[in-house]
């Protein structure tokens, strides 16, 4: 069991040409701050409708939320960023922590809704996962995330309407970020070498690195592929592979971009046993999300 703490983030960037003024954005944001529970309710309804019985973890999460900074509404840059309370639940063996966020944008910028699902553990207390379990978590998240975002979008458009801002309902461009940690020394060496000139194709031929790279590409692509086929896809430019480097982490990411959605998936080394904000999977997805989102 080499992997830990998969994190799944997905957002919808609303495709609308209706420009929201500073004053309108403020009105919408203030209304949302007064009634954040509408989003929690939308999340819970969407999840329960799709999966039946969910075991909600209210006690522990309530404690976490009480300890949070009470500053829920932030004016970040020129936009209002709202982070809703943490939601915890158990389903199919996974203990999941989720948080919804909303960015109310003004002028040419487009508003966005995000949800994050982080796997805190599997079974009673296990944080180390197999590749199959990581895949299973991402499949679960993927099967639910669109329902959740639909529910959140309905809540947002209702809030805009309540604030007297006529924002026509619009479809969205999907932006998905997935990442998980590898805990092995081989992976630590792999990321170090990749950033110092070792090719991905060369690493696939190296016995030390091949098993985890095959796991990674299978999790990313959602299908079993031979080494030859992975190399072929990289060579043909069908997979956009890039490195990621922060002060704490080195990693590899793959981007798949279509006309309706972008999916970015990565893995990096981190052997921490606790789910926290500085974990590779958590920190890198947040970091890249900020970078991509600010372009819209």
């Amino acid at each position: 069991m080499a992997y830990s703490f998969p994190v799944f983030r997905k957002g919808i960037i609303f495709r609308t040409d209706r420009l929201v003024s500073s004053e309108e954005a403020k009105r919408i944001a203030e209304l949302i701050v007064k009634d954040p529970w509408r989003y929690q309710s939308a999340f819970e309804t969407a999840l329960a409708r799709n999966n039946g019985s969910i075991d909600w973890e209210t006690d522990r999460i309530d404690k976490d939320n009480q300890e949070r900074d009470s500053d829920d509404l932030q004016l970040v840059g020129e936009n209002y960023v709202l982070h809703f309370p943490l939601i915890g639940f158990r389903y199919n063996g996974f203990t999941v922590e989720a948080r919804n966020s909303l960015t109310v944008c003004r002028h040419e910028k487009k508003s966005k809704i995000w949800t994050r699902l982080s796997c805190a553990r599997f079974g009673e207390a296990r944080t180390r996962l197999t590749a199959a379990e990581v895949s299973k978590f991402f499949e679960f998240a993927s099967a639910n995330v669109d329902h959740i975002l639909d529910g959140l979008a309905v809540a947002y458009f209702q809030h805009a309407k309540d604030a007297g801002v006529a924002v026509p309902k619009a479809d969205g461009y999907g932006f998905q970020l997935r990442a998980f940690n590898s805990t092995t020394n081989n992976s630590r060496l792999l990321f170090n070498r990749l950033q110092r000139g070792l090719g991905v194709s060369e690493a696939l031929d190296d016995d030390r690195f091949r098993p985890e790279l095959i796991d990674y590409f299978q999790i990313t692509l959602g299908e079993k592929l031979s080494v030859a086929k992975i190399k072929d896809r990289i060579k043909n430019g069908n997979l956009d592979v890039f490195g990621y480097k922060s002060t704490e982490h080195e990693a590899i990411f793959t981007a798949r971009i279509s006309a309706t959605e972008t999916d970015i998936c990565g893995f990096g080394y981190d052997d921490d046993h606790q789910l926290n904000n500085s974990l590779f999977s958590h920190a890198a997805t947040k970091d890249l999300l900020k970078e991509y989102a600010q372009n819209f």
Partner: protein, 371 residues
């Protein structure tokens, strides 16, 4: 690392770009362009050194706020900023060289005239509807603990109250403590009375023979007023990397710290106004904010405002604004809050990944890997 390998990395990116299928959709092509922006790995070490150096600014510079108003300023529809460039001449100043400091005080025979002009300009700005007013450096007639000083200060405060102004009253050299102080005056929310806070210059203009006392605390100071949140950099303080980097970090799009809306740069230079104005332009770009530069009559430009790297004047089609020239000494700039925010967003969005990484708000960067 030899330069040849850097060239090789660049060409790899170029080749990959051409090989990758392009998607015509506006959203996906934007993301594809972002994904393409990958740095050669051999740059990372040096970038990290620079990043650490810049980030350490936080260790010695913890911004300090003085609150005049607790009102939220997000509801402001437009900003009206007056710049006042006085005719103060070096001949009207006398040098005081004491205890190793060298400061310049207004000659007694000119004090009355300059004080009257000061008040006259302030009235003009107030009548013109200004909200924020900034004078050039040394424009405030030097207080010498005389009765007239208190009366003058009270007259200034009265006008601040009458016209509901936030005032950066130029500056003066303190005759006994040897600071260069800019009185920042605005109505205080607690008692509704005008309050003056002295803002000290942080750097001696040694080349101009100014040797002033420097406050032991060199943190970025800023002021929250009903007209917005602003910092004051007196003249060559605008060259201080600690101040500039700290402001850039604070004002970055992704920073969760309070944003500074304006930076006022009162200056008194006989020959370096152009260089100082250029520094203001750079600051306005790097901190995505509006920077107001005011010099005395001795050198041009006397009044210039930059927003997000753009010079703000009616001839610049990139910025919608209105400039009212009341005289050679007094100008009022009006800019809508929406236009102001639009330009701030535009410049913030245009920063390169390197810029975003260096000033410390992004955790990581995308680097090329060999395929």
């Amino acid at each position: 690392m030899p330069k040849t390998s850097r060239k090789a990395s660049r060409s790899t990116t170029k080749n990959r770009k051409t090989a990758k299928p392009r998607i015509s959709d506006e959203f996906s092509s934007t993301i594809q362009n972002v994904t393409d922006e990958q740095l050669p790995p051999e740059w990372v070490h040096d970038l990290n050194v620079l990043r650490r150096v810049i980030k350490r600014t936080r260790e010695i510079n913890d911004p300090r706020i003085d609150v005049f108003s607790d009102k939220v300023t997000h509801g402001i529809q437009q900003f009206k900023i007056a710049t006042i460039s006085t005719n103060l001449d070096v001949k009207q100043l006398r040098e005081v060289h004491e205890r190793g400091y060298r400061v310049y005080l207004i000659e007694e025979k000119y004090r009355r005239k300059l004080s009257e002009e000061f008040l006259q300009y302030l009235r003009q700005a107030g009548e013109g509807g200004a909200q924020l007013v900034c004078y050039n450096e040394l424009a405030y007639p030097t207080p010498l603990d005389g009765k007239g000083d208190v009366a003058f200060k009270n007259q200034v405060k009265k006008l601040v109250t009458k016209y509901k102004l936030s005032l950066i009253a130029g500056s003066y050299h303190d005759a006994t403590k040897f600071y260069n102080l800019s009185p920042v005056i605005a109505t205080h929310y607690r008692d509704g009375q005008p309050k003056a806070i002295p803002h000290a210059k942080m750097t001696s203009a040694v080349k101009a023979y100014e040797l002033i006392r420097i406050p032991p605390n060199r943190h970025l100071r800023y002021y929250e007023t009903e007209h917005g949140c602003f910092a004051v950099f007196i003249c060559i303080d605008v060259y201080d990397p600690s101040m500039i980097f700290r402001l850039m970090m604070k004002n970055h799009l992704n920073s969760t710290e309070q944003k500074i809306d304006f930076v006022f740069v009162p200056s008194f230079t006989l020959k370096d106004a152009q260089e100082l104005a250029e520094a203001c332009r750079d600051l306005s770009y790097a901190s995505a904010t509006l920077v107001v530069y005011v010099n005395c009559a001795a050198d041009t430009p006397r009044h210039v405002v930059y927003l997000a790297g753009e010079e703000v004047h009616e001839g610049n089609a990139a910025v919608k604004c209105e400039l009212t020239k009341l005289s050679e000494n007094v100008q009022i700039l009006t800019i809508a809050a929406d236009e102001y925010h639009r330009l701030r967003s535009k410049v913030s969005d245009g920063y390169s990944p390197v810029f975003n990484y260096l000033i410390g708000v992004r955790d990581g960067i995308r680097v090329e890997v060999k395929l």
